[in-house]
C-alpha cells in the first residue's frame, strides 16, 4: 500500500533507490558473512588472542563497520517493506497508520542501538 505516510518514511524516497540500497548492502553483508564464517571454519580452536587480533586490525574494523552500516540500511528497507505490506488498514483498520509508525519508530531505535553498540565494540576497547 503506497500512500503519503508510507512513501515519506521510505529510505531512498522512492522504490528504485530502496531497491539499489537493499541490493548493494546485501552484497556487502553477504561477502562479510561468508568471509567471517569461512574464517571461523578455518580456525577450529579459536582463542582470545587470535580473535582479538583479528578485530584489532584496521581492515577488519573497517569491514565490520561497513557491514554494520549495511545492516542498518538493509534492515530498514526490509522492515519498512514488511511494515507497509502487512501493517495496513486492511489488516488493522483505522489504527494502521499509528501502529505502523510505532513499529517503524521501534525499528529505528533498535537500528540506532545496534549502530552505537557496534561502534563501541569495535573502538571502545
Amino acid at each position: 500500500m503506497v500512500n503519503h505516510v508510507s512513501s515519506v518514511t521510505s529510505l531512498g524516497r522512492n522504490g528504485l533507490y530502496d531497491w539499489v540500497i537493499q541490493r548493494f548492502s546485501a552484497i556487502i553483508l553477504g561477502a562479510y558473512t561468508i568471509g567471517l564464517l569461512g574464517w571461523l571454519l578455518l580456525t577450529p580452536d579459536l582463542d582470545y588472542a587470535t580473535w582479538a587480533a583479528l578485530f584489532g586490525t584496521t581492515w577488519m574494523r573497517i569491514a565490520t563497520l561497513l557491514a554494520l552500516l549495511s545492516l542498518c540500511a538493509h534492515a530498514w528497507v526490509g522492515m519498512w517493506t514488511i511494515s507497509t505490506d502487512y501493517l495496513t488498514s486492511m489488516a488493522l483498520g483505522r489504527a494502521a497508520t499509528a501502529v505502523r509508525l510505532l513499529f517503524q519508530a521501534g525499528c529505528v531505535i533498535l537500528i540506532f542501538i545496534y549502530l552505537v553498540w557496534g561502534i563501541q565494540i569495535l573502538w571502545g576497547n
Binding site: 553477504g30 558473512t33 582470545y48 534492515a75 545496534y114 565494540i121 576497547n125
Partner: protein, 217 residues
Amino acid sequence: MHCHLCALSRMLILYFAGLPTILAAHGLNCVTSLESWKIRHQVSAFVRTSMCRFPTVGQWFTPPCTGCRPAVQALTGIANQVLCAGLQQNRLPVKDNRPVNLDLTKFHFPLPAITSILHRITGVVLFAGTAVLLWLLSESLSSQQGFDRAQQWLDLLAVKLLVWAVLAGLLFHLIAGIRHLLMDAGIGETLQGGRNGAVLVVVLSVISIVLAGVWVW
C-alpha cells in the same frame, strides 16, 4: 497420502529430535576430531531420508490433509477474523458485493511463495538476532575473561539452540538472498526456473543448517 505440511513438521521434529540423538551418541566435543566424518555421514543420510518423505505432487504445495486441516483451519480462522474485522471497518459501500475469500486453507501455496515468505520471516528474526550476535561479539572481544565467559555461555544448551536458530535464519536468508541477486541478473527468472530455484534454496539451506548445527555442537 500425507500433505507437505505433515512432511515439513515431521522433518522438523526429526531434525530437532534426531540430530541431538546422533550427536549424543558420539559425544558433544568430537566435531573437530575424526569422528566428525561419521557424524557428517549420518547427518547427510538423515537429511536424505527425511527429504524423501516429501510428497511429490507436481510443483504445487499440497493442501492440508485431513489430519492437518483442523489445526490449519483454527490458525487461519483467527487470521481471517483479524483480517475481516479490518475489512468490515474500512469497507466502502461500493465494494459490498465483492466476494471476499480469505480462507487461506483454500489457497495453494507454491514452493517459491513459501521461500519468499520465509525470506521475510528470517529477515525479521535476523534483525532481532543481531542483538545476540553483537552481545557475543562484545563479550568475546572485551577481555580474556569475557572470551571465557562467552565460551561458557555457548556451553549452555539454550544458548547453543539460540545461536543455531540465528545461524539457521542467517544461512536461509543468505542462500535465498543470493538467489534473489541471481534472479536480478536474469538467471532463473522463468516460471520453471523460479520453481527449480526455490527447491534448490530449500535443499541447500537444510543441508547447511544441519551442518551449522554440527559445527555449533
